[in-house]
Symmetry: C2
Subunit: 126 residues, 2 copies
């Protein structure tokens, strides 16, 4: 069995699926509409949608004729929470780069920053 | 050919590889040390490291005897930048949830927030 975070990462490891998400972030739409700009067969698009749906990144309406696809942003939030543990590392890397560039330009190093306050956590709502 | 972002997402779609990254965020280490907690064969660990290395998520030292593995946080920053376009969607979703919970508890709705200022962009350093 694959863990949920792995399923989400795997679903995003494809440029067509990321393009579908970008389209759906503008509003829900039918599969037919969604397929148009991609120049793909309906079965190919449907397969991508199933992968996104399994990962919880989209949901589909229940109407028999027109099953609109809708983005589910909370699945992306779980990636953001995972990334959070590494944020300090790239921030430090950028700070060092910035200091190095200032040194090359003969400018004084920037004052050391105050440590960042922890990200505000929402209370009571998951 | 696979685009870089897809390679990064695919590399992270595995719990062992994410655990390796978490370990390396505590400091660089040898493959032998890295393999210990995973109860995996060296070839299996080496395979995971190759996937992480191809995605630019780690680098390995050049010393012949001891090739320490090191996390490369900038590859994770590119995921963060991709996620940024969706941040407003989960924030809105959470705001609506919060308002709904307040309504259930008979509390007045929260004052609408000021629109968030755009995230500070670093200048001159890529």
């Amino acid at each position: 069995m694959t863990d949920h975070l792995s399923t989400t990462f795997a679903a995003l490891a494809d440029p067509t699926r990321r393009a579908i998400l970008a389209r759906l972030s503008q509003g829900e739409t039918s599969v037919t509409e969604l397929a148009k700009p991609f120049n793909m067969s309906m079965p190919a698009i449907s397969k991508h949608l199933k992968v996104l749906e399994r990962a919880g990144l989209i949901t589909r309406g229940r109407e028999a004729q027109w099953r609109p696809c809708k983005i589910e942003p909370m699945a992306l939030k779980s990636l953001d929470e995972w990334l959070d543990q590494y944020r300090q590392f790239w921030e430090q890397r950028l700070d060092r780069l910035e200091d190095y560039l200032r040194e090359l330009q003969g400018k004084p190093p920037k004052k050391p920053k105050d440590p960042k306050p922890p990200k505000k956590k929402r209370k009571g709502v998951k």
